[in-house]
Symmetry: C2
Subunit: 324 residues, 2 copies
């Protein structure tokens, strides 16, 4: 059943003994939103736990420190920022996948797996939804709660850079800053720090970047060898996809990542009218006009050629459209 | 004479025939603020011109397009975001340096060269000050004006990442987004696009990055040869200084840039308690605790050794302090 912000607020006010679940490969939004809510519920004397199928790295210390660890049998299981129960991770999916009483989310793609769903697809982050629920609960937003919510709001918008950033995003950021959120510290941790392994991988990636079709396409191919040389891994490659698209004049940015089985995961990012999902769907994948993905199981050079062929076709079709 | 926001608003309402001056090496704040004000004044039927000692690059088209070009003899000369009349550039300093009737600024370091000064040092950008003046004038904030102001607000805060970002910054960003500012387009132009020459220089810079003192110091040295190889130049090096500091564990980031005369301009960025101005002042320069600079006229390796010696001394002093 879909429930609104008021009903979600009532649910938290009326119940006790919550287990809040984050998605696997946790990010600033799932952990920031869950930890904000946990702090508010704990301050009301309620029992609450936060769990995640994957380990919380030390980046998240700023969000989790000081939340009292409580040992009790949870009665109400809530998933936060989890669009699909499979995203809880294998172990937690098996444990909790069919036991989620409430899901708080902002993904339009939510698979509606939970008993109750509080879904705000116009929100840039789950933290915006949790902010509205906390306001509706008339709970106090302490500086710590504000820091947790600001982390969600800023990380899911690329620090106010993504197209999902709205008037309300800025309004909530203003209110959280006013409540004492450590905005600068959050930005330093989540946006201004690169791990050494990522910095090394980025360097190799930039050295590998090649240009095609009069420099309208930039392509980076990350091999297993690069992961091994740098000690980096798949989880650190998210922002590499954008590096290609950022170069002036580039309309299509391609990031290829060699998988352990030798196949290549391919992320396509586009500028202007070039449709990334067109390129990827012709290769068996899919996505959005500005960002799409597919997987190719073939040798490196063959995979590159395959992608470039579709990139060229898409670039040509845009050129023809523009000439109309 | 220092004047407040209300007095500045009255000044614009009561007068006509304005020349608005930007600082040389124009950035998003000086051009965004001046073009917002020019649009508002023109919409009131007033005569207004915008000028800059340096050429406006095409990045600024989004701010300047559609502002009517008017030919008239200016009666009131206003400098915007110009902390020192010398920053008008050599030619404009000679032409207008002693003729500035009003300066609108946010730099605490303003040299008070103008007849009247509307200075708000707590503002992260001149655009915040201009926003307040436009509000006080009860003028309409059109989508175009909002885009100009948003450019100033976002560029001078590194897109809401710098420590100067305040509650009011976010509040104004929300209001500008509400008024129809093209926030995403601004971000794409000013934050998500690298020129090809910069991208090439960045690649060489990252390849050159070396680590010292158990990786607590990262150093990049840009030689004339690198500028020549990439076609890049000094104006594109601003963000390179931050690349060093962003690597996890780095407390001191050093960027050295070889000048045409063979000397080295040195930018130091620090994290935590390490004082960049301490390092640079011992080398004849100065600055702030987190960011400082100096110039060394000596061969490359000698300059590197000189800087590293002071970096080590500063790292040692912090270690001793912490051990107290």
């Amino acid at each position: 059943m879909m429930i609104n912000i008021t009903e979600a607020a009532e649910y938290f006010l009326e119940n006790d003994c919550f287990l809040l679940l984050c998605h696997a490969s946790p990010d600033g939004d799932t952990v920031g939103s869950a930890s904000a809510l946990a702090r508010v519920l704990a301050s009301m004397g309620k029992k609450v736990q936060i769990k995640c199928g994957d380990r919380f790295t030390k980046d998240f210390d700023i969000l989790l420190k000081g939340i009292p660890e409580q040992d009790f049998e949870p009665e109400h299981i809530v998933a936060i920022d989890v669009a699909d129960s499979k995203l809880l991770g294998t172990e937690f999916y098996a444990l909790y996948g069919d036991k989620i009483e409430l899901c708080i989310d902002h993904h339009a793609s939510n698979t509606l797996y939970a008993e109750n769903i509080c879904l705000e697809p116009d929100s840039a982050s789950a933290a915006e939804v949790v902010y509205l629920i906390i306001e509706e609960m008339k709970a106090e937003i302490t500086p710590e709660v504000a820091t947790c919510l600001f982390t969600g709001v800023s990380t899911d918008t690329g620090c106010f850079r993504f197209v999902n950033t709205t008037v309300r995003t800025f309004e909530i950021a203003a209110k959280l800053a006013e409540k004492g959120a450590e905005t600068f510290k959050v930005v330093q941790i989540f946006f201004e720090t690169k791990t050494k392994t990522y910095a090394a991988l980025e360097r190799l990636a930039l050295n590998d970047m090649r240009f095609y079709f009069s420099d309208r396409c930039a392509l980076i191919c990350i091999t297993r060898d690069m992961f091994e040389k740098t000690g980096s891994n798949e989880t650190e490659t998210t922002s590499l996809a954008n590096l290609t698209r950022m170069v002036e004049g580039v309309l299509v940015g391609v990031l290829m990542k060699e998988q352990k089985d030798g196949s290549f995961k391919i992320s396509v990012r586009t500028n202007g009218d070039v449709d990334a999902s067109e390129i990827c769907s012709r290769l068996g994948g899919g996505g959005h006009p500005g960002a799409a993905a597919c997987t190719l199981s073939m040798p490196r050079q063959k995979a590159i050629n395959c992608v470039l062929k579709e990139v060229e076709a898409e670039l040509d079709s845009v050129r023809i459209d523009s000439a109309d």
